[in-house]
Each structure stands twice: as C-alpha cells, then as structure tokens.
Amino acid sequence: METEVYEQEVDMQEGQFLTFMIGDQQYGVEIKHVTEIIGIQNITALPDLPPFVKGVINLRGRVIPVVDVRLRFDMEARDYDERTCIIVVNINETSVGLVVDTVAEVLNIPVESIEPPPKVNKKINGNRFIYGLGKVEDEVQILLDTQKLLFEEELEQLTALG
C-alpha cells in the first residue's frame, strides 16, 4: 500500500531521508515530512498526556507538541544534552517535534535499497513504526513511518477528539 503511494509520487524528495540517532542505531524519516531541526529547548510539560508526549515548545511563537522518540519506542529515557535535537515534522497539517539523541545527516536511499521490515524479529524497538530497512553502504538505517510514529493507536483517537 504504502510503497504504491510513494511510487506514484514522482518527486525529488523521494528517497531522501533525514537520519538521526537513538543510542547506537540510526533511524530515518522521510524528508518530505521534516520541517526543520532545532536544538533542544525548554519543554513546557502538560498534564493529562501519555508519557512519550513531553509537552509543548514555543517555536518562534508557534506552540507545538513534542514527542520523545525514545519513550515512543518504549526505550529507557535519557537525559537531554547539548546534542539532543528536536526534529519538527509536519503531517496532515499537524506539526510535532520529535526528540532524538542527535541528528545525523540527509541521506539518499533509493527505493531498491529499501527492504520491508523483518516480520520475525518483534523485539526491535519501535518495530511497529518501521516502514522499511534502508541499506547504505554497510549500514542499515531503520526507516520510520512518520505517520504511524505520530498517529498510531490512542493518538488517533485523541486527534479525532481534538
């Protein structure tokens, strides 16, 4: 399904990924969803939210929610440092900041180098958000489905309510 959509879009953004690190693993999100990358900033915590939603930040006057990708993957939390970054993504007119350990680079991964996620290994963190595994030289990039990352499960309902 998904790949079909991607194939239909003849787009220069096709195959471009912004990669970032969580621990030692490199992950990638599609460039077309990325608005910008900013350093970590003061996050205003909000009540009544799932734990991976850290709160909101003030991005030049815009108030946008922030999701900690580590917590989203049910990984152990880590203190934020000066290398911690927020990747601002925009999907369905919704801007959300993703807190990652650090951003890596912009990569071009052709469609033929992307394999579907392995079905067997359920233990990979955030497996349910994987859209494919991209191979660049010897490294494997876990490519994330930004849509799922943001909107899966309960958040869908939340959004529906909002």
Partner: protein, 570 residues
Amino acid sequence: MFKSWFTNNVNSPSGSYSTDEPIKVVRRKRQYKTGKISISDPQLREEIRFLGITEKDLGIVATWQDIALESIDDLVDVFYDHVKSFAPTLQVLNRHTTVERQRPMLTKYIKDMFNGVIDDAYVQNRRTVGIVHERIDLAGSYYLAMYEVIRDFFISLLKTISATDEEIHDFSESFNRLIQVDVALTIDAFNKARQEKIEQARIRQEELFTELKSTVMALVEDATSGQLGSRVDVSRKSEELHEVLSDLNKMLDALNAPVDEAVAVLQNMASGDLTVSMRGDYQGDHSRLKEHINTTLERQSRLIKSIQNAVEQVASGASQISDGAQSLSQSTTQQASALQEITASLTQIGSQTSQNAQNADAACQLVDSTHDKGQKAVETVGNMKNAMNDLKDASDQIGKIIKVIDEIAFQTNLLALNAAVEAARAGMHGKGFAVVAEEVRNLAQRSAKAAGETTELIQGTIAKVQNGLTFTDEVDTSFTAIMQDIDKINTLVQEISVASREQNEGIKQTNSGLSQIDKATQGNTAVSEESAAASEELASQAAELKKLLAQFKTQAGAVEEKPKVAFEYN
C-alpha cells in the same frame, strides 16, 4: 467403657445387647466335659490325688475352655497390670524379662489349665515354672496372689455370661483345686531347686579351706628357714583365695623392706658416700631403725662438710689475695700508660677542637649564603606558581572558547541540516543548494572535530598545568621546609662553634690534672708487686689441704655455717 463393651461382646455372640440391660436369658446348664489325669510316676499321681483334684474338676474347668480362650488376652493384660501395680513384682519383672516376652508363656500356661488333662508334660511345665521362679528369686507368696487374680477374672467372666450360680460355684471349686495342684507342683519344684543350690555352696567352702591351709604352712616353713623373700604365687591358686593370698604377700614385703634398705645405706657409708639416707616409709620399730641410721649419716656428713668449707675458704682467700696483688700491680702499670695515651689524645683533641671552631665559623657563613639562595628560590617558585596559574586561566579561557566554537559548529551543523532538508524539499531546484549545505555541514563537522581535538589538547594542557601547579606547590613547601632547616642548621653551627671553644679550654685544664695523677701512679706500682709474691705462697698451701678433704662426699643440706657463695669468686 471399652472394657465393658468388650466383655459384653464376649458374653453375647450377637453383640447387640446394651450394657445397661443385664441379660435375663434362661439357659440350659452346661454339659460338663470329662477331664483326665494320666501321670506316669505313680508317687506323683498319688500326691496329686491327695491334693483333692479329680478328673471331674478338670472336666468342669475344660467346659469353659472356649470362653476362656476368647478372653485370654484380656486376662493376660489384667494379670500384668496387677504385676506392675506392686513394686517388688514389677522389679522382678523388669530385671529379668519383659511383658512381651512373657506373654506367650503365660498364655500357654493358662490355656493348659483349660485342657482338662494333667499329664507328664503338664507337670513338667509347672515344675519348670517353679525352677524359673527360684532362679529369678520370686517369692512364692507373690505368685500365689497371681493365681487369685486369674481365678477372680474367670469367675467374673462367668458371671458376665450369665452362668448359673451353680455353674460358677462348680467352676470356682474345681479351678481352686486345679490351682492348688499347680501351686503344689510349682512350690515343690521351687524348694527342690533351692536346696540343691545350698548343698553345692557348702562343698566348695570345704575345698577352699584345705587349699589355704597348705599354702600358709609352706610360707611359714620358708620364713623359719630365713628365706624371707619367699612369696605365694597367687595366680596358681583358686580364685576365691586371691585376695587373701595377695594381702599375705604384701605383709611379707612390708616386713622385709627396711632391713634391705639399711644394708644398702650402710654399704654406701663404708665407701665414703655420705649423701645416702633411708627413704622408705616405715612404721613402728622399722621407723626407729630408719631414724637412727639417718641421724648418724647426717651428723657425719655435716662434720666433714664443715671442714671442707673451712679449707675452701682459706684456699680461696689465699688465691684471692694473690690475684688481687697481681692485678693491682698490673693495673697500676696500665694506668700509667693510659695516662700517657690520654695526654696525647687530649693534645690531639685540643687541636681538633680549635679546627672545629674554625670549621663551624666557615659553616656559619656557608649557611648564611645558602639561606640567601633559598630565599631567592622561594621567590622564584612563587613567580613560577603565578605563571602556572596564568597558564591555567588561559587554558580555561581557551577551553571556553573552544566550547563556544563547538557550539557554533553544532548550530551550523543544524543549520546545514535544515538547509539540506529545505534543499531536499525544493527538489531539483534545491540540488545546487544541497551541495552547498553538504559542504557547510562538512565544514561544521570538521570544525566540531577540530574543536573536539583542541578540547582534548587543552584539557591535556590544563591537566599538565594542574600537575605543574601541584609540583610547584610541593617545591614551594619543600623550599620553605629547607629554609626552616637552614635556619636551624645556622643556629646549631653557631652553637657548635661556641661549644668547641669552651671544649678547648676544658681540655687544657684536664691536661694539667693528668700529670699530677701520673706521679702518684708511679709510687703505687712498687708496693703492689711485693704483696703479690706473699699471697701466692699462701694460696698453694690451701690448695693442698683441699685435695685431702675432697675424698668425702657430703650431704648438700649439711652445710649451714656460711654461704658458699661468698667464696666462689675466682
């Protein structure tokens, strides 16, 4: 409760009667069986008949055999309960056997009573019981009582099964007679066994007496002939006599011991050994003998010892005088030469002391100049410390700047990434821009790397500077300590200088005193040589006397007049 249920059960086969309601069943009188008496020994047969028992009695008793057998276990329990309830019987029981071991025997015994037959085996069995009772020393009166227990049990058993009074009466009569037979047989066996035992003991006593008599007679014979050392060989005699004969041997030993010892002591005395004495523990006359011999020995020993002591004292005194005279003469000579040496040494010391004083003065000057140099070193170290601190501050400052550069590199990296994102989003149009963004990113990463490396270097420098500072601090501390030491040395050297001069003065005075001593020493030497010759003569005569006296060995404790120690010096 259980008991009563049990007995009920016994007398009513259906078992459905309750204890509360005594049974009123009119029943037929039992058909009595016929017993039999078949004893092979006619005399015994007569005896039994004399006791009044008939074959009819045996039959009556046997009639109740089935009932008796049913409750025999119960009876045995009652029997032993009774045995245990009386201390003497309980004691006997516990000493020789257990209820469990006895139970089958007792059961058989009682069963036999209901067999309705008295035959040889029956008689033999009763007799065996009597013999056993004799062996375990169970008084007949006690087991008579036990028969009563058995009888009571059966009578009450019959009552509970509603035997007619007549039946009970018959049973009681017959059973009594059977018991009397049993008792007679048992007691007879008991008595016979006991008599046999007494007779055996009497024969043994006679044999022992004969043996004892012959043994003692032999011993007396030996003693009369002067063989006081003769003894009885106990192991070859009967066991019963061992104790008496051992005691006899011991008595002979006691009589003989003082004589032997006195002989040995006197023999030693004859050979001049006065150290021996009688040590045995004797009684009566023997004790007096020991006392006299020991006193004699002691007095003699003491006398010899006193002489020896006197001679010893003379000899040692002479030798002492001789030695003293000799050493006096010797030391006087030595003294004279020593005095000369001292005088020479003192002269040398005198010159060294003044050299010392001069050296001390020189040292003083040296220390002063060291102190000055040290002072300068301290100042230099202080300057060095400041310089180090400045270096550290500068390093810190550089570290901060590097951090800023690193931060800028990071921000630039972010910007470049953002630019890359924008370029990617711009598609074809952004391609050129993407290249630039990539370049910028590379630069940023290179700066970050360089900054990282620099940071490492700077941190190394900071660490080294810190090290240097620590060292400098240590040096500073050391220098301060040295300075203090130098001050101390200075003081000391000055003190030495003063002391040296005073010493020099003292030596001069000592020298003049020494020459006076020298003169006196010369006079002494002549006198001491004369007295040495006289004392040597005396010593040689004393030694002769000592040789003579040494032939006697004396007792250690005999000397009391003067402590030997006073003369041991030599």
